[in-house]
């Protein structure tokens, strides 16, 4: 909402020294949002000039410029005519124009610039003859301002123009416009009436209600209007008041007065014609949207009803709209659709330059009906914005009266005696309000007298029977005031939020972070400490990604959730793995020149289900029934938290210290294993084949009980190719929730033996296909509890072990709890380990 300070002064007794900035601060204090102050960007000397000479001079570039001399009186200090080059051609010798002299400033989008005398087209141009746009008065830059035209309807002012006199006030350029955002609960502030009321409330200044004008009483001789809403939404009639007045014999070609045009421009509207300008002006003043019909285009009574199947309407914006049964319509005789009630009129009945007789509509439409229609047709208008937020139903007759009065005054014609005013606005119920509530809610003492006085100042009727509870009937323009806390806010904001004290509440003492929260931090910290960089990505993916990742047709990771209105049409799905989007982040980093990368991301993934049921949306009258609540909570798709990592390039670059070490699949596995160790978990590995990994370079990572934690390895070369990733990119994805569930019970400490350790080495030969993890598991099992550690220190393939075989060399470290192990005991344990490996994986001791 743009608030011209000049207009506000008329309604709320703004002190003369108050500037736009002060108005803005005052309004912000009572709950409007500051959007800045406009205007005031023009600085003098800006003076009235009279064109003395004008010589067109054609230029080589095809343009013709005018070399002018302009009488600017004594404003230039010499009294001599001012020489100015001007590119516009809409003026002539003798015209009064507006001249900015060197030293003056003009507004620009970012501030202002200072005008100087400059050499151009072979002349010294000492200033500028101004257009509307250069002065920030409007968008018209096709010509300069000719005061004879601009002030046509103010002959007295025109006659008194003196060259050299200041033009700033004449053009209203001293007007500042304060822009504020109005929150959705304060529909009444989308009018000067509402803004002025707030200003008065904040400052204690008197407020002159512009709606306080004499109104002709309703009678039966007005234009026939029938309210015929047969399908109210949630029991609320679509229209509960409809005022119609008729003005006949208007001169539609008459211009709106310049003050009105000025104010419309100030509030951001474009002046169009007298009838339209008047309806807009009254709406901006009182907040009541109005509609002007060409009376001669109407043939029957006006009927307000819901749309019927198949009905259409071409609205004023030229769009043909298929109407819905919930749309409330204004119709001519019940059959011809004139407009969408409270949203936008149709083209057929619009006032035009030939309109002589005007019917003015001032109606009150239901907020929900208008909001739904506006949303349904994606059609937001000045009217719909106001009705959605609530319009004062009591102001309809005043608005119609004022609009007709202005039409008669500036367009001639006569106002019919008939006053149509149909419908019944229900009186609002009073709120039983505990006067102690403001103090209890805010934590600041509000005496009873202040509470009652503030509510009355806001416009409430307060019936005070001297008890703790008073009856408060909110004013007609405040549909947002419905319960006690609403009234508390009024009391608090009028006193000012600045007075609210600062008191730290004493919490009962919490449990700190949960185990899951600590685990998540540890996972992140561990990976970062191992050299990986945490990144974030948007969790949206496209349909074809799963093909590129090589998922089988029935891979459950294809079951996902689809957004109805995705950010990008090519990415409408929620990711089912973090790798889905992390790999793209890796690719982007490579595209930006990074070569050696190790990234990770922790985030949620969505487990879609083919049989996803609709999730219920119950009312909010109370806590939903247990079964309804359960189906809400259970209906939300499961979203486990995963950690994914991806790496490419070198783990250690080449340099003075030696050769480069490329990142390889085993790095991804090692990161996963280390993550487990950081959590005190010994994770197990099995070779595995799974998209999107290389079928021969993928390990499944499990808990000791076989629960799958995730997978790690090298990506499939096809995936690498399809996603444009660096060759041999490695990756892993683990389910953090599984890690959380697997930990958290206190680790029970083992006593530490201080007897010496005994080392022994053992090399075993197995088929090449036998996983090292299986060999190690067998050795560990056979060696028994005195085995302290088992370390693989060499793998050999070659002639000495034969084709298709490999030798794995382990160091076994033993220690007993209660004694020093003898050499014979250690040998026996080693032999036991060897036997177990022989049995389990066919291992043979290497000679």
């Amino acid at each position: 909402m743009r608030v011209p300070v000049e207009w506000l002064r008329e309604l709320a007794h703004v002190d003369s020294h108050v500037r736009g900035k002060d108005v803005s601060e005052t309004l912000v204090r009572v709950g409007l949002e500051d959007e800045g102050v406009h205007g005031g960007g023009v600085g003098g000397p800006l003076v009235i000039g009279r064109v003395l000479t004008l010589e067109p001079e054609p230029q080589r570039n095809g343009r013709t410029i005018n070399w002018c001399t302009v009488d600017v009186g004594q404003a230039n200090g010499t009294g001599e005519p001012q020489g100015i080059v001007c590119g516009a051609h809409n003026f002539g010798v003798g015209d009064h124009v507006v001249v900015v002299l060197p030293g003056g400033t003009l507004p620009t989008p970012d501030g202002s610039f200072q005008v100087t005398a400059r050499r151009t087209y072979g002349h010294v141009s000492a200033g500028m003859i101004c257009s509307e746009r250069e002065l920030g008065l409007g968008d018209d830059h096709t010509g300069i301002i000719v005061l004879e035209h601009r002030l046509a309807d103010e002959p007295d002012v025109l006659a008194a123009l003196v060259p050299g006199e200041d033009a700033i006030a004449l053009l209203g350029l001293d007007h500042e416009v304060v822009e504020v955002t109005v929150t959705p609960d304060r529909g009444y502030c989308l009018s000067m009436r509402g803004i002025a009321r707030e200003y008065a409330l904040a400052t204690g200044a008197p407020f002159d209600d512009p709606a306080g004008i004499p109104v002709a009483a309703r009678n039966d001789s007005g234009y026939a209007v029938r309210l015929a809403d047969e399908a109210p939404i949630r029991g609320r009639a679509g229209c509960d008041r409809f005022v119609a007045r008729v003005v006949r014999g208007v001169d539609a070609s008459s211009a709106s007065p310049s003050w009105m045009r000025r104010r419309l421009i100030d509030v951001g509207m474009r002046p169009i014609s007298l009838a339209v300008d008047v309806t807009n002006y009254v709406m901006m003043l009182l907040g009541q949207p109005l509609h002007a019909y060409d009376l001669d285009s109407l043939s029957g009574e006006i009927v307000v009803r819901r749309a019927r199947a198949g009905e259409r309407l071409t609205t004023l914006d030229g769009v043909e709209r298929h109407l819905d049964g919930e749309d409330l319509l204004i119709t001519d005789g019940g059959d011809v659709v004139l407009g969408l009630a409270g949203v936008m009129g149709g083209a057929s009945s619009e006032v035009s330059s030939t309109t002589r007789n005007v019917l003015v509509e001032a109606a009150h439409f239901d907020a929900v009906t208008v909001a739904r229609t506006s949303r349904r047709h994606r059609l937001v208008s000045e009217a719909s914005k106001r009705f959605e937020r609530g319009v004062d139903p009591a102001v309809a007759d005043r608005a119609a009266q004022l609009a007709c009065d202005l039409l008669v005054r500036y367009g001639g014609g006569t106002l019919d005696d008939g006053v149509t005013d149909v419908g019944e606005v229900a009186r609002r119920d009073a709120i039983a309000f505990d006067v102690g509530l403001p103090t209890a809610y805010v934590g600041l003492e509000y005496p009873r007298g202040e509470v009652v006085a503030t509510l009355r100042a806001v416009g409430c009727e307060v019936v005070d029977r001297e008890g703790q509870v008073v009856d408060v009937r909110p004013p007609t323009w405040r549909p947002d005031l419905v319960d006690g806390p609403d009234l508390v806010e009024e009391v608090a904001r009028v006193r000012g939020y600045a007075e609210i004290p600062s008191v730290l509440p004493r919490a009962v003492g919490g449990r700190g972070l949960t185990h899951g929260q600590r685990v998540r931090r540890l996972v992140a910290q561990t990976l970062a400490q191992q050299g990986l960089v945490e990144v974030l990505s948007y969790p949206f993916v496209g349909d074809e990604l799963f093909d590129r990742l090589g998922y089988a047709v029935d891979d459950p990771r294809r079951n996902t959730v689809r957004l109805a209105n995705p950010l990008q049409d090519e990415a409408p799905l929620m990711r089912t793995s973090v790798l889905d989007t992390l790999l793209d982040t890796l690719r982007r980093n490579v595209a930006r020149g990074a070569r050696d990368l190790a990234l990770y991301e922790i985030g949620l993934v969505t487990v879609g289900r083919p049989d996803q049921p609709p999730v219920p949306i119950p009312g909010v009258e109370g806590r939903p029934a247990d079964d309804v609540l359960a189906s809400i909570l259970d209906g939300v798709p499961v979203q486990p938290r995963h950690v994914a990592l991806a790496a490419a390039g070198d783990a250690v670059p080449a340099g003075p210290w030696g050769d480069a070490q490329r990142v390889e699949a085993s790095d991804a596995v090692a990161w996963a294993v280390e993550l487990g160790r950081a959590l005190g978990l010994e994770l197990l590995l099995r070779n595995h084949s799974r998209a999107p990994f290389h079928p021969g370079r993928c390990a499944v990572v499990t808990l000791a009980d076989g629960t799958v934690v995730g997978h790690a390895g090298e990506l499939h070369p096809k995936v690498v190719g399809a996603l444009g990733l660096p060759a041999r990119t490695v990756a892993a994805e683990l389910d953090v929730d599984v890690l959380v569930a697997a930990t958290g019970t206190p680790v029970q400490a083992r006593p530490l033996s201080t007897y010496p350790v005994a080392h022994t080495d053992l090399a075993v030969v197995v088929d090449d296909g036998v996983p090292a993890a299986d060999v190690a598991a067998a050795l560990g099992g056979g060696a028994g509890p005195q085995l302290e550690s088992l370390t693989l220190f060499d793998v050999y393939r070659g002639d000495q072990v034969g084709e298709g075989r490999k030798s794995l060399a382990y160091r076994l470290t033993f220690r007993a709890e209660d004694r020093t192990l003898t050499t014979d005991e250690v040998s026996a344990l080693r032999d036991s380990a060897m036997r177990a490996a022989a049995e389990a994986v066919g291992a043979v001791q290497r000679a």
Binding site: R375, G510, V535, A594, P616, G619, I632
Partner: protein, 365 residues
């Protein structure tokens, strides 16, 4: 040690002559001091202290002397051998020190060549700011509550007093799950549904912070991102007031942005709170003293979030008696906090996953 001298040799006895002993000592001292290396010293030592050296011979001859002469000769030779041994030991120490010094010099390497055997990892600053905020509130005795990002419409809107026709429900540009009119699912537009989940789940007193990822259909630009992070606070207890809201916010901003930083509340509107307030934070760069301050644009205040007293209807929908309990809630943005606190100028840097962005922050913020 020599044994008693049994083979008396009259020629060698001459070595016991005092002059000869002195000469031997002098020669030994010269040899010791002139040895330039440990090898030379070892050779000289062998010559002057070895079995065949003059002093060794003299020592051996003492046994052959008559008892009356033994004492004096023994004393003379003993002192001589002592001086020589001391001289060689001293020179040995000198030369060893020189050698050690030389080795250390030779072993010097240029340690400014740092082999990057391990890449430096980093946390994402959004995570770091989130954890820091969490820790502040945990320190106040609050708990951290979380919930799903894909959320039911009822919890995201209706339970928060954003009915189907509420203007605010259109204001928030929401990602709906297909089929939009039936699924009853959205990507949460705020972390407020976690507040409702918490209230449905447990009885007051409730002191929780709900951080997390939220979604709005904004295009990515320098200051907006469709996927961003928030933290919301919720307190429900007996006798909770707006003063408690203000107190919690003041303590929080002082801890995150620096001691002395305070907040200012301005009346506003949110469907889930009544009364409602915008939260402005005092500019911690200029405290309002600099008209050209870029952080606060010269206003002295920075808008950081929204807050208010939990709407009675929200308490009711969550099964909490609004006549018995009151509560406050607030919500602030992590991205905005990060941008303000660390001078991040462009949202793209935060969301695009460029490792250079995370790396510059390390693991503590």
């Amino acid at each position: 040690m020599s044994g008693p001298n049994t083979s008396y040799d009259p020629v060698e006895v001459a070595a016991l002559d005092p002059q000869a002993v002195d000469d031997a000592v002098s020669a030994a001292l010269v040899a010791a001091s002139s040895a330039g290396t440990l090898d030379e010293l070892r050779a000289a030592r062998s010559a002057h202290q070895g079995d065949r050296s003059a002093l060794a011979l003299a020592n051996r001859e003492i046994g052959a002397l008559p008892p009356s002469a033994k004492a004096e000769a023994g004393k003379r030779v003993g002192q001589a051998r002592g001086r020589v041994a001391a001289a060689f030991a001293a020179r040995q120490a000198e030369l060893e020190a020189e050698r050690d010094e030389r080795i250390l010099t030779e072993e010097a390497v240029d340690l400014t060549v740092v082999p990057p055997r391990r890449r430096v990892g980093a946390r994402h600053p959004i995570s770091l700011v989130t954890e820091r905020v969490e820790d502040i509130f945990v320190g106040l005795g609050w708990e951290i509550a979380e919930g799903p990002e894909l959320e039911s419409e009822w919890l995201n809107f209706d339970a928060l007093n954003l009915g189907p026709d509420h203007p605010a429900r259109q204001m928030q540009d929401t990602f709906f799950v297909e089929p939009a009119d039936r699924s009853g699912l959205v990507l949460r537009t705020h972390t407020s549904p976690v507040q409702v989940r918490t209230m449905l789940d447990r009885e007051p007193p409730i002191y929780v912070l709900c951080p997390g990822k939220v979604f709005r259909t904004d295009e990515l630009d320098a200051t907006h991102t469709p996927v961003f992070h928030q933290f919301e606070g919720l307190v429900v207890d007996e006798g909770i007031t707006m003063a408690h809201l203000k107190g919690s916010l003041d303590v929080f901003v002082a801890m995150l942005f620096g001691a002395g930083t305070v907040t200012r509340l301005r009346p506003s509107y949110f469907p889930f709170t009544e009364p409602s307030a915008e939260i402005d934070c005092q500019c911690w760069i200029c405290s309002g003293t600099d008209d050209s301050c870029r952080t606060c644009r010269g206003t002295g205040w920075i808008e950081v979030g929204g807050s208010g007293m939990v709407n009675r209807r929200v308490l009711t929908a969550s099964g909490i008696d609004p006549d018995h309990y009151t509560g406050f809630a607030f919500g602030l943005g992590i991205e905005r906090s990060l941008m303000l606190r660390h001078g991040v100028a462009d949202m793209h840097d935060i969301v695009e996953g460029d490792v250079r962005f995370s790396t510059q922050f390390g693991m503590e913020i």
